[in-house]
């Protein structure tokens, strides 16, 4: 039975409203006790590993409710092993992987394949099953089977569900399995051939725009349907001020809705596209300053429950091409904490608010283990050095793909150790 003590760190655990200096004792993969440093007189026995966290911040292992691990089918972009290693290097201990693999994760054999591959990896992998067979938007998947195989939610992420009747049925049917429906809120006909945010930047660049309304109308629709059915809705990658306001009002009415925002939508605007930078191309697109402000306010007041990376690895053949032909999405697991911590440095968020959105927020939204350091919780823990900076060098990232808009940027806040079930699975060199 492994035993571990993490000594002397500043422990920030929003789930327990904790921010102070504590020693954390781990036994059998779980948090055994947590004691104030100055009051802790216990002796460390033999056979106990000691992690000295003096000067460091100890938080619940980060949980990312939205990643694309690409396996099976797109292993040239990423696989479960490289994705998991990237996650651990970013301080994550759990990720939820989306269903848009090849074949689509729409049946138990794919779910079990993913979970098999995830065994022994440094993070917990929670598969998200598809809402519709083959993500075709026509017929529901066998959600009972997906649930028993290990899926924690359903989503056709990557493809919007255009049929409102089908979305209604999905919310109704999935509710019996306590699997939230994660909506990729996008009206394909309003998007058209758009490849970036609609606005003056798109006009200057001669690129077709995607209006905020393309997202807002579907968020409004899906909130109405969640209200109608009592189903459990989660809004993926919120990008617009309109969506934030719709979700805020829905929560006030008691609608069962949660939401996530990405580090990039919280920090970058559509001006990042200038120069036809395909590493700033994603869906939903980077929006304008007012949208960024609204997302930040949403994280702050809890309207947006989670930060999610939407980690989307793509190979150079998909990114070093014409802007409008380039694939959507960026990798995010290894930069997420540093980017969000930048908001703490800026004074936008408190450290507690940032950690909440990256740990207990997603744990609560999807009823996952972890996300807290209370006694008896899984000892999934991340340790960060907030005083250390690093320069993002794509070649050194663990992810197989290198599509990041932060290449060459210096960021503050480094994951120095990641602990999964009481075992140190990652240590920064």
């Amino acid at each position: 039975m492994n035993r571990l003590v993490i000594k002397g760190g500043r422990v920030v655990d929003p789930a327990q409203n904790l921010d102070g200096f504590y020693n954390i004792y781990v036994m059998g993969g779980r948090v055994a006790s947590i004691k104030k440093v100055e009051a802790d007189t216990s002796e460390v026995g033999t056979g106990v590993d000691v992690v000295d966290a003096t000067g460091l911040v100890v938080v619940p292992g980060l949980i990312d409710p939205h990643v694309h691990l690409r396996e099976p089918g797109y292993e040239y972009k990423e696989d479960i092993s490289t994705g998991a290693k990237a996650a651990a290097a970013g301080g994550f201990t759990a990720v939820m992987c989306m269903a848009n693999t090849k074949p689509v994760n729409d049946n138990e054999s794919v779910t079990r394949y993913i979970l098999k591959k995830a065994e022994g990896q440094p993070v917990r992998v929670y598969p998200v099953g598809a809402v519709t067979q083959g993500q075709k938007g026509e017929r529901l998947t066998e959600m009972s089977e997906l649930k028993s195989a290990g899926c924690v939610a359903v989503s056709d992420d990557g493809v919007p569900i255009s049929d409102p009747g089908l979305m209604r049925r999905a919310l109704e049917y999935s509710s019996q399995f306590q699997m939230p429906v994660i909506t990729h809120a996008e009206d394909a006909r309003l998007v058209g051939h758009g490849s970036m945010n609609e606005g003056v930047v798109a006009t200057r660049l001669g690129l077709k725009g995607i209006p905020n309304a393309a997202e807002d109308v579907i968020v409004a629709r899906d909130i109405s349907l969640a209200e109608l059915t009592g189903g459990r809705l989660h809004v993926a990658h919120v990008s617009t001020r309109g969506s934030v306001e719709l979700i805020r009002r829905a929560k006030e009415r008691g609608v069962k809705v949660t939401a996530e925002a990405t580090p990039h939508h919280l920090t970058l605007t559509d001006e990042a596209v200038i120069g036809y930078r395909t590493e700033a191309k994603m869906n939903p697109p980077l929006r304008d300053k007012e949208d960024v402000e609204a997302l930040r306010a949403g994280i702050k007041d809890g309207t947006i429950d989670c930060v999610a990376t939407d980690h989307a690895p793509h190979a150079s053949i998909e990114k070093d091409v014409e802007f409008d032909k380039a694939a959507n999405g960026i990798i995010g697991l290894e930069t997420a904490f540093s980017v969000v911590y930048g908001l703490v440095e800026e004074g936008v968020l408190t450290l507690t608010e940032a950690v909440r959105a990256m740990s207990c927020g997603p744990a609560k939204a999807f009823k996952l283990a972890g996300g807290k350091l209370s006694v008896g919780s899984p000892a999934d823990i991340a340790i960060f050095d907030l005083n250390r900076s690093w320069t993002v060098e794509p070649a050194k990232l663990k992810s197989k793909s290198k599509n990041t808009p932060w290449a060459g940027k210096e960021l503050k806040g480094v994951a120095v150790k990641t602990i999964l079930g009481g075992v140190v699975v990652y240590t920064k060199e």
């Binding site: 003056v200 006009t203 001669g206 690129l207 077709k208 036809y276 150079s316 014409e322």
Partner: protein, 317 residues
């Protein structure tokens, strides 16, 4: 004088001084095309690749003739598929072309920004011959040259650009160009074809063509793509033509000495009536002639060397 830049990607990046340099150089090259032997040796030994990913007869031919009149070797490559379809990155395409040691790549592409990406991948000059709905700098330069020849100056002129502004690279380049030269530009078109924030480029915006044409010195009509009908940008060609097409009645609102430009090819009876297109105010063919001179100037200012510059100044070409 030389353009102190490797590439010509758009008018937005150019200063007024650079625009004036290109226009005056182009004006001096016009005479070459009137000679019996229409050729100067200035760019002998230089290789120009015309890389066209979009069908184009007029622009490609104009660049080719311009290169040949400067004694450069011009090669045309027409590609019907994007790099994605070929399974090759733009970087691969660029490196392969560069391995043949061209001095300049002239590129036309349906995707905005492709010339900019190519320019970042190669050491030789890149000239944008039209990218998506972004820019078409040589077209704007030939438009400016044409207007300057007729009006003597561009400063203080009122320019109306009418039609599908949203999808037009010609409109964007001309908005930048004419405003930099001191003209007052108004764009007009159906609200569906006015892109978000276009006024921030420095022009006035209206959907009322009559207003746009009132007292104007120059009217630039844009080509309308028929397929925009099926995308509901306008209901029918008939309605478009009635509301936005330039005919003799609408023309009366402009100044008496108005001139009319069109980047071609024209849709007769749609955005412009035949009477107007063939009428005395139309400079559509002058534009084509000036296109060659402008492109000669672009090649010269990007590719010429100091020795040739001295010869030009000494009037020896």
């Amino acid at each position: 004088m030389r353009l102190k830049r490797k590439d010509l990607l758009g008018i937005e990046d150019l200063t007024r001084d650079e625009l004036e340099l290109i226009l005056s150089t182009a004006a001096s090259f016009k005479e070459v095309s009137e000679r019996e032997i229409k050729k100067v040796p200035t760019l002998r030994g230089k290789t120009v690749i015309n890389l066209f990913y979009e069908p184009s007869t007029r622009t490609r031919t104009s660049f080719e003739i311009a290169a040949k009149r400067m004694s450069a070797d011009a090669v045309n490559i027409s590609v019907s598929t994007s790099s994605v379809v070929k399974g090759e990155t733009l970087r691969d395409t660029a490196r392969n072309l560069e391995a043949m040691r061209p001095d300049c790549i002239v590129v036309r592409h349906a995707s905005s920004g492709t010339p900019h990406m190519l320019a970042g991948f190669v050491g030789c000059s890149v000239v944008n011959a039209g990218d998506g709905a972004h820019e078409h700098p040589s077209q704007a330069l030939l438009d400016m040259l044409t207007v300057k020849e007729k009006k003597g100056t561009l400063a203080g002129l009122k320019i109306a650009i009418v039609g599908d502004i949203a999808h037009s690279r010609v409109a964007r380049s001309n908005i930048y160009g004419f405003t930099k030269m001191g003209s007052e530009v108004t764009v007009a078109g159906p609200p569906t074809m006015l892109p978000a924030g276009i006024e921030k480029l420095g022009c006035k915006v209206t959907s009322n063509v009559e207003d746009a044409l009132k007292g104007t010195d120059v009217i630039m009509m844009l080509r309308i793509q028929m397929e925009r009908q099926s995308e509901s940008f306008f209901p029918t060609v008939r309605e478009y033509s009635r509301v936005y097409g330039l005919d003799e009645t609408k023309l009366k609102r402009a100044k008496d000495d108005v001139i009319i430009l069109h980047p071609g090819p024209i849709n007769r009876g749609v955005e412009i009536s035949s009477e107007v297109a063939d009428g005395p105010y139309s400079l559509i063919l002058d534009q084509v002639t000036n296109g060659v001179a402008v492109r000669m100037a672009i090649f010269y200012l990007l590719l010429g060397t100091a020795k040739e510059e001295q010869q030009i100044q000494a009037g020896k070409v």
